[in-house]
Amino acid sequence: MTTVTDKSNTKSNTQVEKWIRTYRRMVMIRLFEEQVNELYTRALMPGLAHLYVGEEAVAVGICEALNPTDYITSTHRGHGHCLAKGASPDRMFAELLGKEAGYCRGKGGSMHIADPATGNLGANAIVGGSTGIATGAALSSKRLRTGQVAVCFFGEGALGQGVLYEVMNLAALWKLPVIYVCENNLYTEYTHYSETTAGDILARGTAFGVQAEAVDGQDVRAVNAIAQKLVDRARKGEGPAFLLCNTYRYTGHHVGDINREYYRSKQEEQEWKTKRDPIKNLAEWLISEKLADAAGLTAIETEVRAEMKSAVEFAIAAPYPGVEEVEQDVYA
């Protein structure tokens, strides 16, 4: 596990800015998802959504180590990745409501947000479905010498998909700048990962000669430090990495998964929320290091909350795409 060792630097202005930005992003994801749940319960959102609450430190810690032009691929639980990479909440909400102002003109919805402007190659509703895409983006980067790094986010459920092993082998053979980020939140849908995952997770990377590391996914500073190391390595042409982030989803597999006690206890959920909350942990550190005070952090939360509220209002008021849109964009 990595700890932040550059403490002397953390007080420099840029470091203060960085951790406040990090805090803000994590709060943004949390409050964004709060609104999503609200939209669902008020029957304003078509279909379902998979919330990222509890896992914020992973997306934010990693994307903070990326350049705006670096690539990511995301998953069905993708809102956090998209926001961490710089997506704007109003267009995301619009997409979740199927509105024309959404990132995909309403055609994609919650599970398919894509945005070339922020290097987001797309969220994917096929488990493991984006592993090839991310690795292919890394191939482009190497061939075209652009220096971009590709980060492939996936849940531990994707460890079951053979395509992951095919592309990790290729990435290692061709020394591609790709980082496979496995977000182990302990459950696939309704099954504990230990029932579906044999052997050692990190060994899946090392078997191919892919540099493999594990990190506490609730500690954003640790995630960021190790991500920075792996990203730098990849950018220098030293090859792919596999980063296991141990984390937890606070809510159901999707917004409709309310009664969860048949697969995990309330007590377990409570323990993660109270003892290992990534936002609370960062707040405590910011205050103890005197990088922020409680009032300042509350002000950030209030601001972000207002921002989310107006983003939702924008999305609700936005028009649906015209029906003639349905046949557009099938081919380029």
């Binding site: 078509p46 279909g47 379902l48 199927g98 509105k99 995909c104 003109r105 309403g106 055609k107 994609g108 919805g109 919650s110 599970m111 398919h112 994917n124 509703a125 096929i126 488990v127 493991g128 479905g129 459920g157 994707a158 460890l159 079951g160 998909q161 053979g162 696939t188 849908e189 309704y190 099954t191 029932e195 579906t196 995952t197 048949y262 697969y263 649906y320 795409p321 029906v323 849109e325 349905v326 046949e327 099938v330």
Partner: protein, 331 residues
């Protein structure tokens, strides 16, 4: 429908009952798939089965569709009768080598020596606001391949009887359930019954036009038939129930009788089930037809998420009604 059919079950209950009865009857029958045990699948179709039959026969798998479908093939060849659960029909793409190159060909390639008595259960159907990777109807792909049988029930009664037949069949059978129909209720007798493959069911008798429909489109077509009746058009609604084997005779006979036919299916129109059935009717009833056979399928686009867009991609009772009215030359 038999007289004794008093009891009502939902489509999901009918599927579950078929599985439970077959598992009681034959200890070789087992189920595997993602979240099939305690969770009973996301649609809760299999709820209660692991409690009755245990984790040796209702097996939760990792998210490894290619792997466990291939294991289904191997297990079927060697003494089990697996029912492989593929949560969404969209994930069939991940099983395609196992289904198309392995399951479908083993019997033939081995000169009739090995058999693959397995069932792959999966879903089809749009309008659940699930977007392009969770809404497809890919049954035509499987219907295209020699060696596979493809079942598409449209009622709880048919679902139960056809699934029991599927499990007893000596061949790989792909069983499609429209996820929008799981809560549909209908009569299902308590007594044991099975429904043979390749026998179409006339869901509604009519004189003026034949509407052939599959899966949930049967329900939609029945709705359209009601609307047509109001303007004096008597529609016959026929459900082939299996796209392979296909009951060509019943379809052709009906089209000969009514002299007009349309085919409605939720798969893509292009190169799809509607094309095949329309050509069967056109060839078999050509001299009795007064109009070209009309086809209606999903619009040729990935299924969009946005509700107003998604809703126009699939046939509705209204669009079927309009098309049938036009085909009958009624204003």
């Amino acid at each position: 429908m038999p007289e004794a059919a008093q009891r009502e079950l939902t489509f999901a209950q009918a599927v579950r009952e078929a599985l439970a009865e077959e598992m009681r009857r034959d200890s070789r029958v087992c189920i595997f798939g993602e979240d099939v045990a305690e969770a009973g699948t996301p649609f809760k179709v299999l709820a209660g089965l692991v409690e009755e039959f245990g984790a040796e026969r209702v097996l939760d798998t990792p998210i490894s569709e290619a792997g466990f479908t291939g294991m289904g093939v191997g297990a079927a060849m060697t003494g089990l009768r697996p029912v492989v659960d593929i949560m969404f029909g969209d994930f069939l793409t991940l099983t395609m080598d196992q289904m198309v190159n392995q399951a479908a060909k083993v019997h033939y390639m081995s000169g009739g020596t090995w058999k693959v008595p397995m069932v792959l259960r999966t879903t089809l159907g749009a309008t659940r606001r699930s977007a392009a990777q969770h809404s497809q109807s890919l049954h035509a792909w499987l219907s295209h391949v020699p060696g596979l049988k493809v079942v598409m029930p449209s009622t709880p009664y048919d679902a139960k009887g056809l699934l029991k037949t599927a499990i007893r069949d000596e061949n790989p059978v792909v069983f499609f359930e429209d996820k929008m129909m799981f809560k549909l209720k209908g009569p299902v007798p308590v007594e044991e019954y099975t429904i043979p493959f390749g026998v179409a069911d006339i869901k509604r008798q009519g004189e003026d036009i034949t509407i052939v429909a599959t899966s949930s489109m049967v329900q939609v077509a029945l709705g359209a038939a009601e609307l047509l009746e109001k303007i004096g058009i008597s529609a016959e609604v026929i459900d082939p129930r299996t796209t392979w084997p296909l009951d060509e005779k019943t379809l052709i006979e009906s089209a000969k009788k009514t002299s007009r036919a349309m085919v409605v299916d939720e798969g893509y129109g292009r190169y799809g089930v509607t094309g095949e059935i329309a050509s069967v009717i056109a060839e078999g009833a050509f001299y009795n037809l007064e109009a070209p056979v009309k086809r209606m399928g999903a619009m040729h686009v990935p299924i969009p998420f946005s509700p107003p867009l998604e809703d126009v991609t699939v046939p509705t009772d209204q669009t079927i009604f309009e098309a049938a009215r036009a085909l009958c030359g009624k204003e």
